[in-house]
Symmetry: C2
Subunit: 259 residues, 2 copies
């Protein structure tokens, strides 16, 4: 069965979607069958693959609400071996609609167990989460084997890290005892910037091997790619951003092979 | 009575908190009595003024839950004429706790009417919102006279703008008929970057005068200031970031004088 990884950070704009899109693409490019779940009502991961609004009428919202299975909503992307469950704005209402329902924290877990069990033979499932520790993110943490945390090297982002790690701990102690730490990946890194260097030092002191060696540099090509509806690895695979995500995928695969 | 402005954008990391902190400071510095409400469970606006966790035990959460009035939680900051209602992590639970309660979208409006009516003589109230269109943000939109939208000049941020404007429209048609557009302010702007220039052109074409003339440049001093627990205007008032927020405040004041 696949390795399921939630890409999570309640701090906004730290590179969750950019990491989910490009890491998923790099995993698929090295012949790992990969599923990307877009769990953010903004639907940025879906946009990043050029999926128009009309192609999202069947979406992860229907799955969370129990009105469809993942096999009804998963679509192919332009990247071989990479599949996507798109999100649309209906998902913004899911939080309030889930509150009174049964198994409200387990909807995604149940859907993935049903879908991946059908011999879909995925190697990896990545879940792009919204900037919040709400029921959607709790669903992702409950369904996942591990947590990947993109961390911008800024003061506010560092401050939110301990809250995030406490939430992961709480989910591990209640909803999902096998939830582990895949790692923290530093994003939008600009080595000329003292604050960024200081945050990197602090995080490596605090978390040690839980921090990936690969650091994602600030690279304009990463933010231009979504405008063309494709991952950076397809838009410009030679740029520093793409190269960093290729090396992150390699590091992730090595780490998981060792286990 | 004061002008109440919600600083809103469901896209994460676009500069909502940085704008709320520094605009509030610039308004106070030009002798306008200003209240900043921190409505984000991350509590970044509170951190930006050096408010420790122990000083936040009475917070905006208690106000939203109807267990305290604003006069019980509002504190002074190091900036004369600037007051703050801090947030703490309890606020993360407010969304689910509000669902079944009465007047769940009006809690903040009711609290502000009670507090500002007591002859507090505020000129401006700014509300820093979380990166979501959840009940906390709906509370802010219901309580406000107008909406200020920080917009990062990036593709994903531009994509989310129409959803945000539709939500503002929906709140105007139901909960708050007098909600108007204070304006869109372009943030983290780097003129050397084609994408940023293109986004600026698109937004000015699309929204015209609803876009502030003042553009906030990308400036590292803005992201260093929170680490020292003070707004950039106190940390380094000569930097380009601070100067931009001073000019934004002047533009906002001029606009509101004309009306
Ligand atoms: N390494 C990078 N270099 C330059 N720009 C980047 C990089 N990573 C992401 N970006 C850009 O920064 C912005 C924020 O990134 P992204 O949207 O991936 O963050 P997010 O955490 O998913 O945001 P949200 O909290 O709204 O979901 C986007 O416009 C994106 O294109
Ligand atoms: N003009 C700027 N130049 C450089 N850095 C900036 C600028 N504005 C904000 N920042 C930094 O960018 C990051 C995101 O800004 P900020 O936290 O204010 O955004 P936000 O919209 O409030 O985020 P969230 O969605 O998490 O609430 C912060 O680390 C902040 O210090
Ligand atoms: Mg995202
Ligand atoms: Mg903020």
């Amino acid at each position: 069965s696949p390795k399921i990884i939630a890409v999570v950070n309640q701090k906004g704009g730290v590179g969750k979607t950019t990491t989910a899109i490009n890491l998923a693409t790099a995993l698929a490019a090295t012949n790992h069958k990969t599923l990307l779940l877009d769990l953010d009502p903004q639907g940025n991961a879906s946009t990043g693959f050029g999926v128009g609004q009309q192609e999202r009428s069947d979406s992860i919202y229907d799955v969370i609400m129990g009105q469809a299975g993942l096999d009804d909503v998963v679509i192919e992307t332009d990247v071989p071996q990479l599949y996507l469950a798109p999100a649309n704005v209906d998902l913004a209402g899911a939080e309030l609609e889930l509150v009174d329902g049964g198994r409200r924290s387990h909807r995604l877990q149940d859907a993935l167990l049903a879908y991946c069990g059908e011999d879909q033979a995925y190697d990896y499932v990545l879940i792009d989460c919204p900037p919040s520790l709400n029921l959607l993110t709790i669903n992702a943490l409950t369904a996942s084997d591990s947590v990947l945390v993109p961390l911008q090297c800024e003061f506010f982002a560092l401050e939110g890290l301990s809250l995030l790690l406490r939430t992961v701990e709480r989910v591990r102690n209640s909803l999902n005892p096998s939830l582990s730490m895949e790692g923290v990946v530093l994003t939008m890194y600009d080595g000329r910037n003292n604050l960024a260097q200081q945050v990197q030092d602090d995080v490596r002191d605090y978390l040690g091997d839980d921090v990936f060696q690969t650091v994602i540099p600030r690279n304009i090509r990463l933010s231009e790619a979504p405008g063309y509806g494709m991952p950076a690895l397809m838009f410009d695979h030679r740029c520093t951003g793409s190269q960093a995500y290729i090396s992150l995928a390699a590091e992730l695969i090595r780490k998981n092979k060792r286990l």
